[in-house]
């Protein structure tokens, strides 16, 4: 049986690890990405997501360097994204050591790009990242460009369309819950998991061990976690043993490995 995945999510700004609340508020510095990645590697997390949140020509090179350095010592899957617009961008990240490349705004602006990238690099290499926000009590909508631009797309409809365009995985993130540690958007996770056939990584809101359990039980294949790992004493080791003891299908913890 496939294991549920615990995935720290790194946000990079000019090559520094940062964290916000609801995408824009309360910026906090969170350390050196390579060093932090090594610590998480020792904790035995299952994968890493690294997103360049203010992409520019200069930051692109820094991200490539960071991924190259991570891949020298860390042997687990990396998903990398932020400002990916061309096949060359995808190729540069894969060559640097990324296993999957995450595409967000460009997939909305140019859906054909997603199909083209999947055809060139394989479906399994292409993760589509979807950020959404509630715009009324019963209605959520997709936002692109780091949460700045509203587009008239329903997140689940859009995720299904991305699946048709051959994305290998969906990273679904709630902007409202980002950095709040108030729990995942379980209703959305439940709906998305029911209609998608590709793996679903969920992001936004994890602040307790129970939150992760709730999201996985709602149907997520993986939980992306940022604030909780960075700012609380709930380490990946603690989360993993907690999930394991509750009977969730996760890898045995590294502490029980040797």
């Amino acid at each position: 049986m496939l294991k549920k995945r615990l995935i720290p999510k790194f946000l990079l700004r000019d090559g520094r690890l940062v964290k916000y609340v609801r995408f824009f508020e309360n910026e906090r510095a969170a350390g050196n990405p390579v060093t932090t990645a090594k610590v998480y590697n020792d904790y035995g997390v299952d994968e890493l997501i690294v997103l360049d949140i203010v992409p520019s020509e200069a930051s692109r090179h820094r991200v490539v360097e960071i991924i190259e350095r991570m891949s020298e010592e860390i042997f687990m899957p990396f998903t990398v994204g932020g400002g990916v617009k061309t096949l060359d961008d995808v190729n540069a990240l894969l060559r640097a050591g990324a296993d999957k490349v995450s595409v967000n705004s460009e997939a909305v602006r140019r859906p054909e790009f997603l199909r083209e990238a999947a055809r060139t690099f394989g479906d399994q290499c292409m993760t589509v990242s979807i950020d959404y926000k509630k715009i009324s009590p019963n209605h959520a909508s997709v936002f692109i460009d780091g949460g700045r631009e509203h587009v008239a797309l329903d997140p689940i409809e859009w995720a299904r369309r991305c699946e048709d365009l051959h994305c290998g995985e969906v990273l679904l993130g709630s902007i409202d819950r980002d950095g709040t540690m108030s729990g995942y958007d379980l209703e959305m996770i439940h709906r998305a998991a029911n209609v998608l056939s590709v793996p679903l990584i969920v992001s936004g809101g994890c602040g307790s061990l129970q939150h992760a359990i709730d999201a996985l039980e709602a149907g997520a294949s993986a939980v992306a976690i940022s604030s909780m790992f960075l700012f609380t004493d709930h380490s990946p080791i603690k989360l993993r043993s907690h999930l394991f003891s509750r009977g969730l299908e996760v890898r045995a913890s590294s502490s029980s490995r040797n």
Partner: protein
């Protein structure tokens, strides 16, 4: 003989494999050169991408013949990973849209078929960490506890082996998934040892010290 040849056949990210070989204390050479492969102590065939393209790139560079000589005839220790493993099969139905199967190297009596888990809830690709249950022991699994045989998989197609004695281990994903095969000096994994943390590094390290 020195160094570890990592076979380069075009669109193929070999950095992680190269880094893992270095991490294990060996000297990797990424190459499709016959001389370099002849000189290497061990050969690794990595693999990311589509079967059809991979086979035509290999044939265009003459890699199929180089490997036939040095691996099959001369017995150099050989590890194929993911798509690399699938290329050892006789055929693959990946992107065989017009119904014509792609031909592989045919080193194993096996065919590559689309994953068809018997549970609608199981998603394709089979992506993530899964346990491998051993059918038998093999030197590349030395020192790895059974409870730690969790490896990172990413694939939509898998090998069906017609000769059960070639299979070292299976994973379960709504069907039996051939995870490790081996015969003589040849071993192959459907998962990515270079992405499987401690267990994967241990496996690679075992391979690099293997002298069948």
């Amino acid at each position: 003989m020195s160094g570890v040849a990592i076979v380069d056949y075009g669109i193929n990210n070999v950095r992680s494999v190269r880094n893992a070989v270095e991490y294990c204390g060996f000297d990797p050479v990424v190459t499709h050169d016959a001389g370099a492969i002849a000189d290497a102590s061990h050969v690794i065939l990595p693999g990311v991408g589509a079967f059809g393209d991979a086979m035509s790139n290999m044939r265009a560079r003459g890699i199929d013949e180089i490997l036939e000589l040095h691996v099959r005839e001369k017995g150099k220790p050989f590890l194929a990973v993911c798509l690399g493993m699938q290329l050892l099969a006789k055929t693959s139905e990946e992107h065989a849209d017009d119904g014509v199967l792609h031909r592989g190297l045919g080193w194993f009596d096996a065919d590559v078929l689309r994953l068809m888990p018997n549970d609608q809830a199981l998603k394709i690709p089979h992506m993530g960490w899964n346990m491998v249950a051993k059918e038998r022991n093999h030197p590349i699994l030395d020192h790895i506890r059974e409870s730690n045989l969790a490896f990172y998989f990413v694939h939509s197609f898998a090998m069906r082996c017609n000769a059960p004695e070639d299979v070292v281990g299976y994973a379960q994903y709504g069907q039996q998934v051939t995870a490790i095969i081996a015969r003589d000096n040849i071993a192959a994994t459907q998962f990515h040892p270079e992405k499987s943390q401690d267990s994967g590094i241990e496996l690679m390290s075992n391979f690099l010290r293997w002298n069948p």
